[in-house]
């Protein structure tokens, strides 16, 4: 067994890390000795894991997530667990039970969420690579707000075994890094079939990014530049798309009518799945103990009321309601039909174009505390949720700044064409380097 170690004691002024490993061991392999940060909803054996929640305070997983085993097998040094919105529920990391993470580029602003800690750790230079997870934009949003690269893989390409579940049909673990090349390198290690995740697909990722974009057809849906998207952000993203055109891509404007329902379909689906997934947090097997002298419901209501934050409780209740008798048809069933329409929109467009492009987020990073109302927070996910609904790969790559803050270009591809998404982002990155 190799006993090499690195030393890690970052000057973390932005609360990116919830747990750091000051002297992690590492082995041999393609990631030998590289410091990698892991979002705190990914299980790491022997390392405290909280999912950003007080209901898992003190929890130490007895096993590694599949992706963590893969990283360790390639010699990576796991240097710590990063801060996040509680259970992945949020767009700013302000919903963490352990205080928000600040944006390293402007500490009065949010880093995005829910993988805000991972994005901040990479953007501030504490690590070059990190893992995040993306249910409705949680890798891409913080990548855009912090000016780094983040990929949400095609659903099924990266095992979810060991990912603390929020919404199983929507989420994927994915790589976040300073460059497209490093993002691709990390994807190569974590992608691949895992029999312990029954939604995992046999499709390894083994790819060197290629910047040749000659003839690539890039669809630009009108709905991605609609009302609600800041005009300065839209202009920056158009500049990036036009640069790709100069490099040989063909730009095709198009329409995605399913966008009208996408956000509602997303929030009904994820809250419904969350209401089931989070039922396991009862203070019995993990987390702060429940008072066993009380009766069943009294004990659980007390523990869950105390230890889940407001946003988590709100989403569990929304999901409980959407699935309840009398309301299931109106909400959950309709959301699945809407979801199918979004998926069909993508498949229809992909007959004419190879990828779709637009802004990752409608604005630059918000100021801390700016989005106090839950619904206005949800609305900012409008451009990222479609890729989760349809299971398609999607990346955010930095494409300039507005008021000094980064803007992200989002590229989405056909199912299982993560390589083409990476290549398109690489073509842009190399064109401006």
């Amino acid at each position: 067994m190799a006993r090499s170690r690195i030393f890690f004691s970052p000057d973390d002024r932005v609360n990116a890390f919830l747990t750091t490993c000051p002297e992690p061991e590492y082995g041999t392999g393609s990631l030998e000795g590289l410091a990698i940060a892991i979002k705190d909803n990914i299980s790491t054996k022997g390392i405290r894991t909280t999912a950003g929640s007080r209901i898992l305070e003190g929890y130490v997983p007895p096993y590694d997530a599949h992706v963590v085993s893969l990283l360790l097998a390639e010699g990576a040094a796991i240097v710590g667990k990063t801060n996040m919105d509680e259970f992945g529920m949020g767009t700013t990391t302000e919903n963490s039970g352990y205080g928000p993470t600040l944006n390293p580029l402007d500490t009065g602003r949010v880093p995005g969420g829910s993988s805000g800690g991972s994005a901040a750790a990479v953007a501030s230079g504490m690590v070059r690579m990190a893992l995040g997870s993306d249910t409705g934009g949680s890798i891409r949003c913080p990548a855009a707000f912090c000016g780094i690269v983040g990929l949400k893989p095609t659903y099924g390409r990266v095992s979810r075994y060991g990912l603390i579940a929020y919404a199983n049909s929507l989420e994927q673990i994915g790589p976040m890094a300073r460059t497209v090349g490093e993002t691709s390198r990390l994807m190569q290690v974590i992608a691949g079939h895992d029999p312990r995740d029954s939604t995992s697909i046999e499709q390894p990722y083994c790819h060197t990014p290629d910047k040749n974009i000659q003839g690539r057809r890039i669809g630009v849906p009108e709905e991605f530049f609609g009302a609600g998207v800041d005009p300065a952000v839209a202009a920056k993203v158009w500049e990036a798309i036009e640069l790709l055109e100069k490099k040989g891509a063909e730009i095709v404007t198009c329409r995605m009518p399913g966008m009208a329902y996408a956000l509602a379909a997303y929030y009904v689906t994820c809250t419904s799945e969350a209401s089931s997934n989070l039922a396991r947090f009862d203070g019995i097997r993990y987390g702060p103990a429940v008072d066993t002298k009380k009766s069943w419901h009294e004990a659980f209501q007390e523990r869950r009321g105390m230890s889940f934050g407001k946003e988590v409780r709100r989403r569990i209740m929304l999901g409980t309601f959407a699935l309840s008798s009398g309301y299931y048809g109106k909400y959950y069933a309709k959301a699945q039909s809407a979801r199918q329409q979004v998926k069909l929109d993508f498949l229809r467009l992909y007959k004419e174009v190879d990828v779709l492009a637009g802004p990752t987020m409608p604005t630059i990073a918000f100021r801390l505390g700016e989005k106090a109302d839950p619904l206005s927070m949800y609305l900012s996910d409008i451009l990222t949720v479609p890729a989760n609904l349809a299971g398609v790969p999607a990346i955010s790559v930095p494409c300039g700044t507005v008021e000094g803050m980064p803007v992200g270009l989002q590229v989405m591809g056909r199912p299982f064409e993560d390589e083409v998404v990476i290549d398109t982002a690489y073509a842009y990155e190399q064109a401006v380097v």
């Binding site: 009862d282 209501q301 209740m317 959407a322 109106k330 309709k334 979801r339």
Partner: protein, 89 residues
């Protein structure tokens, strides 16, 4: 429109505690979000979401799994190798 009583009922179903002071704010926010969800009423058709996936089965063969001591390690209260839970009755 859901009332404060409805919110209390939903919270009970989900075993989530909410305190009286939060009830008003929760109810208002809940209703705003449900109003937004009304857009789903305009979705035509009843097609459901098609996943091209199939049930994954395996042979019923015993393979290594989590040892009992590891499974109990994070528990609040245990007794003779069992998790201890509140009374059901």
């Amino acid at each position: 429109m859901v009332s404060e009583r409805d919110i209390e009922h939903i919270a009970e179903l989900a075993d989530i505690g909410i305190i009286k002071e939060e009830l008003d704010e929760f109810t208002v926010q809940f209703n705003r979000i449900l109003d937004y969800f009304d857009i789903l009423d305009t979705v035509l058709g009843d097609c459901g979401y098609e996943q091209d996936r199939y049930n994954v089965l395996r042979e019923d063969v015993v393979s290594p799994s989590l040892p009992q001591e590891d499974a109990l390690k994070n528990a609040g209260e245990t007794e003779e190798g069992f998790f201890k839970a509140p009374r059901v009755m």
